[in-house]
């Protein structure tokens, strides 16, 4: 059959692995059971269990049949091949799509396998190019996903697609840059995932209660508890309980995502991140595309002296919050993170230039505005209504805590501000709740954007944005001295800014 298609090129077309169908079938069976059981119970509580089953079982069978049928056609029509110049894939059940990527543009190959796929020895292969695609949605056109092929075939593709640059490097095998330790999991509960997951748990309780037609039940239960044990006990224990729950969930999620993590440099100049307990993930990244690293210290993790290492690379979007694709090393003690950063991009240690005092005044002014708004927000309800003591105390307490936090943030974020030049990098640090230090390759800077608001002008401050093709596209040095920052920029990238600045005696 394949013989006919040989005409186009010497390389034959290949197909996805047939066992993919079994994975889909088992997965759909799981979904059907998961969705069918509550529905059956729901219907069964009314007319009776047999009638419920008579509806649910055929329904589930039809859904499974349709999805499996679709999948089997998809597996049959999807073909791919790797020629000397391109990777090509033809697919599409209803709409035919033909995707073709230039091999020289391929910058990353990403392998993932969920537990089902692992049982059958399969893996998904995602091939990414360095195209940033400034238009929305265009990133999609620049990736190609093979879902799924045999594990061995996936490894073969990964090796072949990134082999091209293997010429100059010696075949001395992998070099280990960082290895994850289970002890680092202790930082997981400190992440912002903890309160988020705690909030999600509250939402889930209401949702489940609503499914069973008892939407008011949680409120009623809490009301009864307050009557019995007093409001402060319930509020305090409730918050502690939720946070413990969130911490456990966060621990589980991050443990699953990062178990067995290791960061290697492979012969041929690629970095490889491997990790995952149930879903194994592997990201290979061409070093040629790396434009720097970012050491990120979210507040909770920072308070424990830890941070994580993100990579600034072309074709890896880093601006979506919660995406951990660009993370090279998860939350770990700072010395370990710095070691990994140095192994990836060279020396990162340097003294940062602090920013002018007026930058702190600016932050304190924002904090003052926040305090005024909070005070107003806490006062107005008291004037309008006669509030119960508990609610009133809670509002005042929340406003006071938030005000203290706002003022503390002003001092802390000023203390974070700093910039410096090293031999290879432009270094900029900023932020309080998410303090980040970016080390941006000076040769990767493809333009400047300088901004100065009317307030900054009065305080002699200016913000410098280095634009780049990598990561989130631009990295800022905010609220620096308006004269010093120009000298800084002119030195960072020789000859780019110089024609446009004038030097005048004071």
């Amino acid at each position: 059959m394949n013989g006919i298609e040989h005409a186009e090129g010497a390389e034959p077309w290949r197909r996805l692995h047939r066992d993919g169908l079994k994975v889909t079938a088992l997965y759909m069976l799981g979904v059907a059971v998961g969705a069918g059981v509550p529905v059956a119970i729901g219907i069964g509580s009314g007319p009776g269990l047999l009638i419920a089953l008579a509806f649910v079982v055929p329904g589930a069978a039809v859904v499974i049949g349709l999805v499996v049928g679709y999948e089997s056609i998809r597996l049959r029509v999807t073909r791919y091949r790797v020629t000397d110049a391109r990777v090509e894939m033809h697919t599409g059940v209803l709409f035919k799509t033909r995707r073709s990527l230039m091999r020289e543009r391929i910058r990353s190959v990403d392998l993932t396998a969920n537990p089902l796929e692992r049982v059958f020895g399969l893996a998904k292969v995602k091939v990414g190019t360095g195209e940033t695609g400034s238009g929305t949605g265009s990133t999609n056109e620049q990736t190609l996903t093979l879902d799924s092929v045999a594990r061995a075939e996936a490894d073969r593709l990964r090796a072949e697609l990134l082999r091209r640059s293997a010429v100059e490097a010696g075949e001395d095998g992998e070099q280990r840059l960082a290895t994850w330790r289970p002890g680092w999991l202790k930082y997981a509960p400190l992440s912002f995932l903890t309160p988020m997951l705690a909030g999600a748990a509250v939402g889930a309780v209401f949702q489940v209660a609503d499914w069973f037609g008892r939407g008011g039940l949680p409120v009623q239960v809490v009301g009864d508890l307050v009557d019995e044990y007093g409001p402060w006990t319930v509020l305090g224990l409730g918050l502690v309980g939720l946070l413990v729950l969130g911490a456990i969930a966060s621990l589980a999620l991050q443990g699953e995502a990062w178990w067995g993590h290791r960061l290697d440099r492979e012969p041929g100049g690629t970095l490889r991140v491997r990790r995952g307990l149930f879903v194994s993930r592997s990201l290979s990244l061409e070093e040629e595309r790396i434009r720097g690293v970012e050491i990120v210290e979210p507040l909770g993790v920072r308070s424990a002296g830890a941070g994580r290492l993100d990579v600034v690379a072309i074709g890896l979007k880093t601006d979506q919050e919660g995406s951990d694709l660009s993370t090279l090393v998860p939350a770990a003690p700072l010395p370990a993170v710095v070691d990994a950063a140095e192994a990836v991009v060279g020396p990162v240690d340097c003294a940062l230039t602090p920013h002018p005092r007026t930058a702190r005044a600016r932050r304190l002014r924002w904090a003052a505005v926040a305090v005024v708004v909070l005070a107003a927000a806490a006062t107005v309800p008291h004037l309008l209504w006669d509030l119960p003591a508990l609610l009133s105390a809670a509002i005042v307490l929340a406003a006071v805590l938030a005000s203290v936090f706002a003022v503390w943030t002003a001092f802390d974020s000023y203390a974070s501000l700093g910039h410096a030049l090293t031999e290879r990098h432009l270094v900029s640090r900023r932020g309080s709740t998410r303090r980040a230090t970016v080390h941006l390759d000076r040769s990767g800077i493809i333009g400047w954007r300088l901004t100065q608001s009317v307030f900054q002008r009065r305080m002699g401050l200016m913000t410098l944005d280095a634009t780049t093709a990598a990561g989130k596209g631009h990295y800022a040095v905010i609220d620096a001295d308006e004269h010093e920052i120009l000298d800084f920029a002119a030195e960072a990238v020789p000859d780019l800014l110089r024609p446009f600045v004038v030097r005048s005696p004071e």
């Binding site: 072309i314 493809i446 333009g447 002008r457 093709a469 780019l496 800014l497 446009f500 600045v501 004071e506």
Partner: protein
């Protein structure tokens, strides 16, 4: 002794004077969008006439005044310059933005012309780099000057090898 202080000099060129009527028409259109429906409703609905016509008149006065005064100011503030090594622009007054895109990192150069711009003989040159920070736009050049500039930029950038990342 005080050290010499570094400051940015403004880009050399102002935009074509025809941007003044172009900006004015844009301002007037923006004014007409709320004013016309208010006025029509005011004429149709007698009981609410004062409540509809008064704001309409206020917006109209404000809009006309702004469309007369603001473009003159904008014309003074917005500037551009193209050298052999870079494209340099300055926009804004309350929020000033200077942008510098080096010739060696420019990926595409386009000219665009909307229907309003065409009627005034104006054109926009859009210079994009590989950064997602957005394109550098020169809005309001004479259309012949714009196409000549785009051609020159294309030649200059083509002469430099590499994929501009």
């Amino acid at each position: 002794m005080t050290a010499p202080r570094t400051a940015l000099r403004p880009p050399q060129h102002q935009f074509d004077p025809r941007v003044l009527p172009w900006w004015r028409v844009q301002c007037l259109i923006a004014t007409a969008v709320p004013v016309v429906p208010l006025a029509v409703l005011g004429l149709l609905i007698a009981p609410a006439r004062a409540w509809l016509l008064l704001p309409a008149a206020a917006i109209l006065v404000f809009g006309v005044a702004a469309s007369l005064a603001m473009p003159v100011w904008w014309h003074r503030v917005h500037r551009w310059e193209v050298t052999d090594t870079a494209v340099y622009t300055l926009t804004g007054y309350f929020w000033r933005t200077w942008r510098i895109a080096p010739m060696s990192r420019i990926q595409t150069v386009d000219t665009t012309q909307g229907p309003l711009q065409r009627s005034f003989g104006l054109s926009t040159v859009v210079v994009t780099t590989a950064s997602s920070a957005g394109a550098v736009k020169l809005e309001g050049l004479d259309q012949d000057q714009a196409s000549a500039l785009a051609e020159r930029l294309t030649e200059l950038t083509d002469a430099i090898p590499g994929d501009a990342t």
